[in-house]
Structures are given as structure tokens and as C-alpha cells.
Amino acid sequence: MTTATETPDGIVLSARHVVKTYGGTRALKGVNFDIRRGSVTTLFGENGAGKSTLMKILAGVEKPTSGEIVLDGETVEFNSTVEARDLGISIIHQELSLAPNLSVRDNIFMGRELQTPYGVDFAEEARQTAKLMEELEEDVDPLTPVSALRLGQQQIVEIARALSVNSRILIMDEPTSALSASEVAVLFGLIDELKSRGVAIVYISHHLEEALQVTDHAVVLRDGSVTAIAEAKDIDLGWIVRNMVGENYDLGEPPPEDFGEVALSVRGISVADPANPKRMLVDNVSLDVRSGEVVCIYGLMGAGRTELLEVVAGRGASAAGEVWLKGEDLSGMSIAERLAKGLGLVPEDRQQDGLVQTMTVGRNLSLASLPRLMSRLVLSRGRERDLVEAAIGSVGVKTAGGEAMIGSLSGGNQQKVVVGKIFATNPDVILLDEPTRGVDVGAKGEIFRLLAARAAEGLAVVYSTSEVGECLSIAHRIIVMSRGRIVAEFGADTTKEEIMAASGEAVAV
């Protein structure tokens, strides 16, 4: 992985032997990384591999512990993002960094307002904003508050802001995670346009297939070291994953088809959009799941997966339709009552909905089972300890123990805690909304294997995903949702192309 084999021409920015340590942890272990003019360099790697750290160093957010940054052949040192920005380096963070209360115009010019002796030149700012949005094919009035925009549009604003400073080097950290397929297509068109203007782009994404489409140079990072570098034309998906995990990509197989009675029966569920009651987020969805069966719900963002699962779990009051569990109507029951009956949800966003960050691993695990742990009015510590130990063991959480703070765990282990919390209630039906979001490939496999093992014991599993590769793992049945409706249903022997075509997603851009 030396740069000697590459032509030095075209390299605008390089990291040389960059080391970054946090406390005792070495996040980067001497990384060399080159960015070329007019091309897209994609950085692949699992969570915790050091991708974000490396990008933060290149963008001046953080300083390397040792090693240097070379810009146009000269060693540079950034003391802030402003300095990096002045040298033409911009970063689009994976977390949106917009002020939702301000307008699109004000966000784009935040921190570098066009000043005249008479105050800010709002008219000129608005004109430039309108021009930028036009280039991005996003029809948004510059004076619209960002909070009124859809998430994908907000992402576009974020990109517009980076473009507005005429960056020579643009770092995109997960730019498509909130975009719809058509918006992704616009973004990719834009990337081509930027390339032809000579902009160097660094691209990071968990959507490997998508990233592969725009990549010119691929660099794989594993455990803080670069493990592989290649030209895009020489590689495929398997190559990336092999180098990321050092293993073949395998998310398991469906457990034996030994189904029992219908465990969960969803009948005619509809959910209206709170912002626009005429639009249905979930439109008359019916679904039966038998015990021992694993059902995957595939759909793009906004297809209604989350809303459906949340209504079934008891969150959100107004919804038409019925939910039956083992022949019992759950209508009007609270989340707590449904949990007690044996129906639990692992929510989509583990930080927002899954975990209590102020509590320990053990207390998070026991949270849904507390009523069972009572002994004469007080909580039985012994029973709680037993439950926590059993839960840690059964889902394989790598932790120092139940007393460790939840924040000390990696993303995958945090997710296992959320799953373990629901498992601890001994459910008959478990719903999982994007259970592998923000989880590295290794932990993904472990979570799917856990679910498959429980399904073999008779648990009914329903999980949703927006990654088509995850449909073809442990699911017996794949249900495709689009715009709130079930549009297709496949068996485990289907193909990615069939699923994607059914969802209305473009197979190739």
C-alpha cells in the first residue's frame, strides 16, 4: 500500500503515517491515504475501523497524534475546520450539522455571511443559494426554514453548503443515508460534474453497492490500518467485504421450516401522515406470521416499514386495523401490555428509542422485564442479576459486565443489548426495525444468527431492512413495501434484482 506504484501526479492531499490515539486506544495506526484530483476515492471499513477519525483529521476537525498531512506537496497543519476550508477542504458530516430554525440561505452562509457596510447582503445570499439549489436540481426556496424540508432535502442543503465555498477537496461521510433513490441519482450526477471540474472527492458509505458505482479508487481500512487499495475497475463487492472483515459475507440461512400456529396477525392496518391526513404512511396492510417463521419487510426509506412496526408494537394511537397475537385481539392495549402478552419491538434508532444512555448495561437489559422481577414490593436484586447474566450470555454481549455503562459498548454490542432486552421478556413475536443499522458486518451476522436460533425454537420474527442483501439471509418470506402498501411477496429463493424491482428501486444507475 505504498504510493510508489501510483503516479504522484494528481495527488492533492495525502495523509502520511498518520497515527491517532484516544486515551489508550489507537484509532489509526500509521495510515497513508491519497486523494487525487478529479476522482472519487472511497474509504471502506466497518464501524470503528477509523474512517471517520481519518476524515476528521483531513478536514481539520481533529489533529493527528503523529504523522503529517501533505497538501499540494507541502506539509500543512490545520488548527481548525475554518483553516481547512480556506484551503479548499470541506466535509459533509454524517450527522446533519444544520440549524433547523434558520432558512436554507442562512444555513448555507452560516459563519461567512456576505457583509456590506449596511449589514448582511441577504439578496445576494439568496441569489447564490437559488443558483446552487438549481444546480442540485432541488426546487427549494432559499427562504424555506430547514426544519420544513424532508431529510433528504436537508442533506442536499448540507452538500450545497460545501459546494458554495468552492471546495477543491470534498469529503462526504455517508451522504446518501437519508436520500431517496432519485436523490442519490442526482447526487451521483453531481459528483461526476464535480470530478470534471477537477474536484477531489472522498466518499464514505455503508451502502457498498452504491459506493462502488461512484468509486474510482477504493481504499479499505480495518482496525486503524489500510488493508487494501485498488482501482474500482479491478474490484467487486466481494473484494471489499473480504478486505473489510477478512471473511466472506454471510448473514446466515433461514432456519428449518417448522412453523406452528399463526402467532401474529395484522389485519388492515392504516396509518395517516400526521402532517397530511390524506396521505397514508401505511395503507391497509395485512400480514400473518406463524411461530418459528422469519419474515423480512423490505422497503426504501419512507415505505412505511417503521410506522407499521410501531403501530403493531403499540406506539402511536390513531390507526385503523387490528393486531392479533395468538388469537387475542390487542386493540387498545398499551406497549407494556403488549410486551407482557409476548410482543416486543426493537426500534430502528437505538440511540433515540432503544437505550437509556444514563443507565448501565444490566439496567438496560432488565428494563422491559421489571414487573417480573418484583419480590414483596421491591425489586429482587438476585433475580435481576440472574436475568442480566442470562441475557448477556444468550445474546453474546461483549461487555465488562452488567455494571458497565451502556456507552462503553460498540454499536453492535449496544444493539445486542436492545435485542437482549426484548428477548428477556420471553416474547412469542419479536419485531425488529432495521436491526443492523449502524452495526458492523461481523455483528450483523451474529444478530441474524441469534434471531434464526430463536426462530428455530418457535419465536416468530419480523424484521425490516433497506439493504437488499439482508433480505436474503435468514428470512423465509420477504415482503416488499412501497408507499405504505405491500407490493410483493417472495420466498427465500428470490433474487436481489426481483426484490429491488418490486420496490420500485432502480436496479442500476
Binding site: T358, L367, L379, I406, S408, G442
Partner: protein
Amino acid sequence: MSKNGSLTVSKATTEERVQPARRSPRLNLGRLLLEGRAFLALIVVIVVFSILSSNYFTVNNMLTMSSHVAVYALLAIGQLLVILNGGIDLSVGSTLGFSGMVAGFLMQGVTLKMFGDVLYPSVWVVVIAVILVGAFVGLVNGTLVSRFRVAPFVATLGTLYVVRGFALLMTNGLTYNDLGGRPELGNTGFDWLGFNHIAKIPIGVIVMIVAAAAVSLMLNRTVFGRWLYASGGNERAAELSGVPVRKVKVWVYVASGVCSALAGLILTSELTSAGPTAGTTYELTAIAAVVIGGAALTGGRGNIRGTLLGAFVIGFLSDGLVIVGVSAYWQTVFMGAVIVAAVLLNAVQYRGGRKKGRRAEPPAGRATAVPPGPEAATTQTRG
């Protein structure tokens, strides 16, 4: 082959990240000092004033100061419950004053027009009635916050004014004096709360200790306590785990109202008079005690021990300043400085805690890219 293979790989990578940041012993000492800061502050207060005044560190003065502290501490215990839930209760001072006025009113005798009689309720009836009044104010707060989703700050600010207004209206601003009761009416004993002792310990202090012990047990050993910590730490996650978050929310405000009523009873009894302006700004003292005790205003963190220490720091400091003869204006400055210092240290402590968590790279990708709220839910594809 790959099943076992990838399992071991992920083990290796996750274990490295899991290590919960072992600190060096020196740092642990710093951490200990930080966590025990309320206790240290109390020691410093006692030592400094003992040096400045020979009257300070005597059994009698300690007991007198403790009975002052009892009023603050009871308010602070209620406040702690609300703050653990992520809310705030600004109405506790008014509720204290109003409770005292209700006690005064009942002790004066209730004229029943219908029968032309004057009814003199016995002291226990008065106590129970006052506690119910406090609970009712709390119920109003809790309902506003949980059912009508009014921001706690605003809801309890409103009750602060309304309740204080009722207290003033009851007598047009006058004070009920001489609440000793008369033996022939069978309503003596109200001053028992404020003047009596059991084994030399003032009743007020005993009430405080009992309340603290009961709430501490509730927080640490009962399901409700765990529900409270969970819903204060992350209400959405708690709800999805089956925690009845709205019920918890109502009950913490009710508990805070009851604590305020108890404090009102003790203060009124100590003074044997009930004034409608009693307890003005005590809500701020209570919040200060909770904060000095290390609780986070964002909810989910804090405990009774810290809150009690916080109340003692405030009470012992303000009484000490009086004993030493510092001007009342300077006392205000000192109190403010102590509160700011406490909040600064809280910030240091919780930032430290969060850094520990951040060591593992923030869960990347979609998990963090999607903010909460309806935007995420209503995003639609145009594809």
C-alpha cells in the same frame, strides 16, 4: 466455514473497543473528589465557620441549623424526583406557602354556615388535609405536563403564580398567628412538629430523615424507581420497554407536591404562624440543592444522598454567614457563587462520563444520520 470465521473476527474487533476505559489510580482520586464534592463542600463549610465562630460547631446550633435544613431538604427531595424525570417544579415554594395557609385556616376553625357551627378539626385531620392539598397541586402540575404536554418550566411557573395568589387571597395578604390551638377545642399539638424533639432531634429533622429513607428505598429498590431513572434518561426508549412514562410523570409531581406540603407544615409549626408569602424563592433553593448534589437537569442522574448533602451545604452555609455576621447582600453573592461552582463541576463530571462512552466510535451511518421526530417518519421517497 465462514460462520465460525466471521464470529471470531468480530470478537477480536469488538473486544478491543469494549474496554471500559480503565483509568489510572491518580485519575480515580480526582474522580472520587469530583463525585464526593458535595460532601467535601459540606466539610469545608463546617470547618471554616467553626474557625470563624465558636458558637457554630455546637450540638444546639447543629440541631437548629438541621431543622432549617429540613425544610429545604424536603422541598429538594421532591424536586429531585421531578428533575430525575427530566422536568422541573417551580411551584414548590408557593405550594409550601399555600399549605401553611391552609393549615392556618383549618386551625382557626371552619365556620359551617349551614349549621351555624364552627368546626375545629384535630391536628391530624389538618395534617392530612394539607398533604392532600399539596398532592392536588402536584396532580395539576403532573396532568399539565404529561397529558397536555405543557413544558414543565412553563406549567409549574403558572402554578407558582396561581397557588401563591390563592395563598394571598385567603387572608388578603394577612398572616394567621397563634396556631397553638386551644385545649378546650381539642386541636392542640400543631406546634409539636416544629418544637418537639425525639432524643433531642427536632421532629422536622426526623420527618426529613424518614422521607429521605423512603424515597431512597423507592428509587433504588422498587420498579417505580427504575422506571423513573429510565424515563428520565430516555423517555422514548423507556416507553418502548413497557414503562408507563406518563403515569411516572404524574406521580413525581404529586410526590413533589406532598413534599412541599410537609415542608409547609414544618415551617408553619416552627413559626406557629402561617404567612402567605412563606417560601418565596424556595423553589430556587431546592433546585440549587439538587444541582449541588450532582443531579443532572437533563434527567436520569442523581440520588438522595447528594441532594441531602446539597441541602445541608446550602443551609449550613447560609446560617453560618448569618452567625458570622456577613451582610445579607453578601450572603446572596456567596450562594450564587456556590451554585455556579456546583453546576460547573456537574458539567465536568458528565462530560467526562460521555467521553468514556464516545471512545467507541459513534454508531455510524444511518443510526446517527436520521434525527428524531416526524421528519424522519414522514420522509418519503420520490423514486
